[in-house]
Amino acid sequence: MSVATGAAARRAPGPRVRPRSILPGIEWSTLAVLVATPFVLATRPELVTLMTNILILSLLAVSFDLCWGFSGIMSYGQALFFGAAGYAIALVGRDLDFSQMWATLPLAMLVGAGLSAALATFLLLGRKTPTSIFVAFGTLTGAYAAERLVAGWQYVGAGNGLSSIKLMAFGAYEFVEGVAFYSVALGLLIVVYLASRVIVRSQLGLVLAGMRQNEERLAFFGYRVQVFKALVFTFSGAIAGLSGALYSYHQGFTGPTNLGPGLSTTAVIYCLFGGSGTLIGPVLGTIVVELLSYVLADTDAIKQYWTVILGVVLLVVVMFQPTGLLGLVVSSRERIGSFGLRRRPR
């Protein structure tokens, strides 16, 4: 059959066939793999630790994706919320000797949300509409300034950061690295994932999708575009804060680099590599990038230039495959998806 007849067949009128959707399959299989991981790796505790780290970082990647992939805010500042929340729980552990997770994790989210709301108010809201370049540079500047400030501040350990953070606890139980911590991280990732999914598939998500397509037109329709952006930015800040708190508890350490543009860049790479604009993309991106870097870290020649390789990957993705890894298998139509309550097909 020639190409021409194939094209003709596609255009032929007839009952519309819904293309098979792939995303739910990917989501479910990722979940199955992640649930199975601790059982498979029961004999390799260091790999469970690695996977826990990956889950925590994929929270950060999801938070970046909400900004860039869903609302078009280029945020180099996700690490700012991540790091600030990490410092907050470290200080609470040190000065108040308190690390109950039912209180500190919400606190971390509050710190992240508060900071991002403040930054969003400053950068996005106001009488004059800012350019997206200004917002990008504003977040970069914020992260850079915060890193410099913390690196010179003795109370928070200056350049050395804060080490031996009090372990995360629930009642009398203390979480060390291992399966228990992994389960907490996975549980929280699932909760965050579902919450984000509800948001981006709701009517709010429809506004965001319209904003990405044509911000000006949405503004003419009467939507206050910047307010929507600020809302999403705040929500993503809360997630980044949660991620940062878990990361600090898990590592037992937090330092100025956790606040800076470097880590934000890593989040950008995870998200774009996996596929921005889908929620599962950043999770897959984090898993693939981190696993690759773990496997390749044994080779000294590669380890030294690993970041260079990541940079090249980012460049290639931006230039040739803007929809990332997932874009190879998922059609744009499914990527953008549908919004609001599910309707029964007529």
Partner: protein
């Protein structure tokens, strides 16, 4: 009084370098409408060129002369291969140029091995005027910057290339239909901006220790200067650079240095937020 003069001199030397960086960033931004996130790393590349020349023994002077040429050539290659794909999508260009910056920074970090390197001033010593000592190298920086600014201004206002540049800036579509190859102009502009960044890196590196992370500092400061001054003008970025450079050099005398550095950014960001069009809002070059 003596102190005030010395202080003003130091600020001027630092500001001069900022002016070079900002001029490069600003000319690219106003011509092609993209903000080059790799600009800080081009400064780093210029600094690294001087370091390489110094360490293989052909002297710092050769490095200072080579740096703009090398970085300009790198800029030209980057424009021809990568940057030109981004002109239609300025937002994606941020990501692309950021990735380029990341690659350059990490390669240099690997080559430096994570150490700080100090480079001696090619022109050491000082001269005395009216009982005050002035560093030779800093005077050279100021003189070079003034020469570059004068050269740019003459190029833009007195030559036919400058006329074409101004035309392409005013109305790219009309310029193209008049037979001006804007593609070639854009390539030249990018190479020129990169060369300025390289020169700035070469001039500043004897005053700073060379490390892979100096780029981002200059990028943030230069961006704020461009925004302060206003995009699309010639004097704007220069004024902005003077303001940011003056603040960066002056504030550590007023508040503690730890606080001063972030404070510069916050103040500049706040001014830009309140006055997005910059000091000079008329779009002329």
């Amino acid at each position: 009084m003596e102190f005030a003069i010395k202080f003003a001199f130091d600020i001027m030397a630092f500001t001069s370098v900022m002016v070079l960086i900002v001029l490069g960033l600003g000319v690219i931004a106003s011509m092609m409408g993209i903000f080059n996130f790799a600009h800080g790393e081009l400064v780093l590349l210029g600094a690294y060129t001087v370091y390489v020349c110094d360490s293989v023994g052909i002297g710092g002077w050769t490095g200072v002369i080579l740096a703009p040429l090398v970085v300009g050539a790198v800029g030209l290659v980057l424009e021809k291969t990568i940057i030109r794909r981004f002109y239609a999508t300025p937002i994606i260009a941020m990501l692309g140029t950021y990735a380029i910056g990341l690659i350059i920074r990490e390669i240099i970090r690997g080559l430096l091995g994570g150490h700080y390197k100090a480079i001696p001033e090619p022109l050491s010593g000082a001269f005395v005027v009216g009982g005050l000592e002035f560093s030779m190298w800093r005077s050279f920086i100021i003189a070079t910057t003034l020469a570059v600014i004068l050269g740019c201004w003459l190029l833009l206002t007195r030559t036919s290339i400058g006329l074409r540049v101004r035309g392409a800036l005013e109305n790219p579509m009309l310029a193209r239909s008049c037979g001006i190859s804007t593609g070639r102009l854009y390539a030249l502009t990018f190479a020129f901006g990169a060369a300025l960044a390289g020169l700035a890196g070469a001039l500043i590196v004897p005053l700073y220790a060379l490390s892979a992370d100096i780029g981002i500092r200059f990028l943030v400061q230069a961006f704020l200067s461009v925004m302060l001054g206003g995009v699309g003008t010639f004097e704007g970025p220069v004024l902005g650079a003077a303001a940011v450079g003056g603040m960066a050099a002056g504030l550590p005398w007023v508040v503690s240095p730890v606080l001063a550095d972030p404070l510069v950014f916050v103040i500049a960001l706040a001014i830009v937020r309140l006055r997005p069009q910059g000091f000079i809002s008329v779009g002329r070059l």
